[in-house]
């Protein structure tokens, strides 16, 4: 009698623990799914911002005759956060001197890369663009900017495609895999 009475609350406490664990598992996998879908939706947006940044860089070079460092600083004030860091760091490195434009561009690209939602293809495009930056006269520079914009356009279309395809899948996949894990562990 006493043994039975003792067992009941113990069992209840254990199922309570199980419930808490199940909730934690569900929450974490759902969160992971949402994080992945946020990454997917962030990529086209950042590509669009990057394109508009390049456009204003073109305008600064062609019509404003602004030095590259000042132009980068201006652009960093115009665009929203993760990308603006890139131009801010770039202009800071240019202002501190002692580097070429190419190494400053590459280093600032590597520094902010982790916080961007972009892929390896965009990295290559941007670092190739950095090689041409500040090397030639204004008209050649404009051509390079236009070339980079077309590349980015292609990547943006790809990113939008992927977003439409996988965004919902990733969300529900996170939740369902959490559910499956709970059932398997129960």
């Amino acid at each position: 009698m006493t043994a039975g009475a003792g067992r009941f609350p113990k069992k209840r406490g254990r199922s309570m623990f199980k419930l808490i664990g199940a909730v934690i598992i569900i929450l974490s996998t759902t969160w992971a799914g949402f994080e992945a879908s946020r990454h997917l939706s962030q990529r086209p947006r950042q590509l669009r911002q990057l394109k508009s940044a390049l456009q204003s860089l073109e305008a600064e070079i062609m019509y404003g005759h602004t030095p590259l460092g000042d132009a980068a600083l201006k652009i960093s004030k115009q665009i929203p956060k993760p990308l603006s860091w890139f131009f801010e760091i770039f202009s800071g490195r240019l202002a501190s001197g002692e580097t070429t434009v190419k190494t400053a561009w590459d280093e600032s690209l590597k520094e902010v890369w982790k916080s961007l939602a972009l892929k390896q293809g965009e990295f290559e495009i941007l670092s190739q663009f950095g090689e041409t930056l500040g090397r030639s006269d204004r008209y050649n520079q404009q051509k390079q900017i236009l070339l980079t914009m077309t590349h980015l356009e292609r990547e943006e279309n790809d990113a939008i495609d992927r977003q439409g395809k996988y965004e919902k899948m990733v969300k529900s996949l996170g939740f369902l895999s959490g559910l499956l894990l709970i059932i398997l562990l129960m």
Binding site: L173, S177, I183
Partner: protein, 67 residues
């Protein structure tokens, strides 16, 4: 008896979730992943059922062979 009902619900739960996963993966065109998921779910359930059947055989042995 309680254990058997429990295992039936577990199998049903795995089946439902795996069916959902299959549908979603199928819709976005990842057919091969969908089939892998279904296959693994099936194997898992098969193992569970095998353990139950093994229990049954043990019981039959203990009844008829007097061990």
């Amino acid at each position: 008896m309680g254990i058997e009902v429990d295992i039936i619900f577990k199998i049903a739960g795995v089946g439902i979730v795996v069916a959902f996963l299959h549908t979603i993966l199928d819709q976005v065109g990842k057919k091969e992943y969908a089939q892998w998921v279904t296959l693994f779910g099936f194997i898992y359930i098969l193992f569970m059922v095998a353990s139950v059947v093994e229990n049954l055989f043990q019981k039959i042995k203990s009844v008829f062979l007097f061990q």
